[in-house]
Every structure is written in structure tokens, then in C-alpha cells.
Amino acid sequence: MASPIAPGRQLVSATMLTVDQLAATIGDIADPEIPVLTLSDLGILRGIDLAADGHLVVRITPTYSGCPAIDPIRREVERVVEELGPPDAEVRMELSPPWSTDWMSDDGRRKLLDYGIAPPDPAAEPGCALLSMPARCPRCESEDTREVSRFGSTPCQAQHVCNACLEPFDRFKTLR
């Protein structure tokens, strides 16, 4: 998936950041529910548009419709934009196209695994909408695992258990 961020143009602001620099700063904001992931890892920063008259629009999208993290994320993005962006910049919620785990970065997938959460299916894998590959245990790497519940501690996770090492673990659900 190509980067949704437009290439760098000079912003009209006191700090004179480029769009790319602002995008990098917003992209580094941590997810409040899974704090090892950033907005950029999740792929929920959809773009930054700078109009000819200097009006700036930052577009973000939620993972799931009811994800409670999106309100604090939006407030944090607004805080960064107010601090670093031009006056009257706007943060807009965009639903279309709907978010997919295919937008999650490789770096994000590695960080999830290190954190103890099995990542979603790789983006390149074609497969059915919701289920395809078995979850690999983040502790012992066995693929001999089973799903305990399709719902977990956040809307984006399901509960699994490893048959090899018996450790329960969460998996980030594949959503396409």
C-alpha cells in the first residue's frame, strides 16, 4: 500500500515544518490501548492536505466503528496540530475507504509480537475476510494454537491459547 501522505510542501506556520515532518510527528503518537503501536504503525493517519491558501486538513480513520481509543487519539492529533501546524487547521474523521489490517506496517507487526500479541495476517496474503492463517504463539512460536473467543480485550483482538506451551494470548484480528 502506497503511503497516503502527500509529498513535502512548506507549511505556512511559525515553525515552518514541512508536511512530511508534521506527518512524522503525528505518526509517532502512541495508540492509547496498545501503546507499543503508533498511529503510523496502525495506518490510521490517512493523509494531510495543504491547500494553496495554507488551510491544512489532517485525515484520520478509526480501526473499528466503536473503538474507544479514537476520541483520545483525535484529541492528541488536534493538540499536535495546534502546536505545530498553521492556524485554523482541521482534523477530520474519514470512514472511507474503511480501515484494514493490511495498512499495518511491518514494523508495527514486529512490535506487536514483541509485546506478546500475535499480529494479523500479512498484507500480501490473499485470503477470506476474517479468518485464514493459524495464529502463531508469541511465546513459543508454535502454530498449534486454538481460538478461545473471537472477541477480546479491545475490538481489534481475539483470544487464543497455545496447545504447545499452554500460554493464553491475544491476537490482532485480520480485518479486510
Binding site: P62, S65, G66, C67, F151, G152, S153, P155
Partner: protein, 256 residues
């Protein structure tokens, strides 16, 4: 008819109907929080509620913007009286027991999925965007309901009997889902709304096959209650609304 001929107030009311379906079912499912038969199901039912609440927020916000009188999602959710809600009667039916809740989920999520799939192509980009997001979530909800319907229906004598009772009690409320009216017909001509009358056959086939596998008999009833889309509700609804709205009404503008 071009999309520009579509009345904004029609689209606002249509969005309100869809939003009310999602909001009221979310509230009912939320009643299971800390009460479900097992921990995983507690989490599952409240996760489904959360998805529906998110969909309701988008739909009510859209309705509020289109009607243009300054009502936001909170004002629409907590400031309207019973007769100003336009959800179908099925979603307001009480939880009763786990089997009733699963039966309601099966009947409604199958309908909602069949509705949202074509709604992703709506001429209204706001509705199309919300549907495209929600359709993935609702497919997951239906899958959950199917698994439990099979487990309860084709389970023990006790679980089968409860599932059969639940389907019999809720079945009359399914007819209303496929009723059309002038509003929907006007919007369907403009490519904005999906006429639910056209969804009945595929819904019936899916439900029939699922209940058949679950060894549950589809009842034959001549009673066809309706009125939700006109704001006429069943007795249980007012009690549910009082529980849902009391905090906002007692402390207007409260937040945390």
C-alpha cells in the same frame, strides 16, 4: 431521478432509523455486561454492543448534520422521547435469557448484513462510507450468532427448548424488518436507500438453513406487529429508554 432531487430531510430520517436500530440493540447488549453466562461471552456481547454504538454515533451524527437544526449525537440519543425513536421493534425486545439474546442477534444481524452490503453503494457518500465500515463488523456479529444458534439449538434438551421458545417469541417481529414505506421508496428510487422488501427472500433462506441445522422449527404466525419506523413501540421500550437516558436528563451536559 438524480441524487440532487433527494430531499435532505428524507436522508436525515433514514439515517436516524438505521442509527436507532444500532443504538437500541447496543443498549440491550450492554445490559449483559458482567451478567453473561461466561466471561468470553460477556466480552463478546459487549464488544458487539461497542461496534453497534460506534455505528450509531456515525449515523446519528450524520442525521443531525443533515437535519441542520444543531442536534448532535448525544442530543439525538438522550434527548428524544419514546415516540421520536424509529428503530424496529425487534431490537428493543428484552434480553430474557441468553437464547433470546442469541436468537435476536441471529435474526437482526442477518438482516443488517443483507441491508448494509447494498448500502455500501448508496448515492449518499456518508451512508455508503458508514455501511462499508460497518459491513465487516456485522459479518462478524452474524458469525457469532450462527455459532451459538447451532450450539444451543442442537445442544441439550434444555438449551434446545430455550432456543425454540426464543425463536417463537421473536419471529413475529421479523416481518416489520422488510416493510417499506413512502420514505424508503422515494430514497430507493434515488439510489440512496435500500428497499428492505427485496431482502426478505435471501434473509429467509439463510435463517431457514441455519435454524434447520440447529434443529429449531421456524414458527408459522399470523401476528405481524409493526410501528417502530413510525415511533410506535412495545411496552419494554420505554423502560429501557428511561435507564439509557436518566443520567443525561438528570445532569444535562455532564461529561468526563
Amino acid at each position: 431521478m438524480s441524487a440532487t432531487a433527494t430531499s435532505t430531510s428524507d436522508v436525515a430520517l433514514y439515517a436516524l432509523r438505521l442509527g436507532d436500530d444500532a443504538l437500541i440493540l447496543a443498549q440491550r447488549l450492554g445490559e449483559w455486561s458482567s451478567m453473561a453466562p461466561e466471561l468470553e461471552e460477556d466480552i463478546a456481547l459487549t464488544n458487539i454492543a461497542l461496534d453497534l454504538l460506534g455505528q450509531a454515533r456515525f449515523l446519528l451524527t450524520l442525521a443531525g448534520e443533515l437535519e441542520g437544526s444543531g442536534r448532535d449525537e448525544d442530543e439525538l440519543a438522550f434527548g428524544r422521547g419514546e415516540r421520536e425513536f424509529y428503530n424496529c421493534l425487534l431490537v428493543e425486545q428484552p434480553n430474557v435469557d441468553f437464547a433470546h439474546t442469541i436468537a435476536r442477534q441471529l435474526l437482526f444481524s442477518t438482516y443488517q448484513l443483507a441491508l448494509y452490503e447494498p448500502l455500501t453503494g448508496s448515492a449518499d457518500s456518508g451512508l455508503a462510507g458508514i455501511a462499508a465500515k460497518a459491513v465487516k463488523e456485522v459479518a462478524y456479529h452474524r458469525d457469532h450468532a450462527v455459532k451459538w444458534s447451532l450450539r444451543l439449538g442442537d445442544g441439550t434438551a434444555a438449551s434446545h427448548s430455550r432456543m425454540q421458545d426464543a425463536i417463537e417469541r421473536l419471529w413475529p417481529y421479523t416481518h416489520e424488518l422488510f416493510e417499506s414505506d413512502e420514505l424508503v421508496e422515494r430514497l430507493a428510487v434515488g439510489g440512496v436507500a435500500v428497499n428492505p422488501a427485496g431482502l426478505c427472500d435471501s434473509w429467509g433462506q439463510f435463517i431457514g438453513a441455519t435454524l434447520g441445522e440447529a434443529t429449531v422449527t421456524v414458527p408459522e404466525t399470523s401476528w405481524r406487529p409493526s410501528g417502530g419506523r413510525r415511533g410506535e413501540h412495545t411496552e419494554a421500550f420505554g423502560h429501557m429508554l428511561a435507564e439509557m437516558q436518566w443520567l443525561h436528563r438528570s445532569h444535562p451536559g455532564a461529561s468526563w
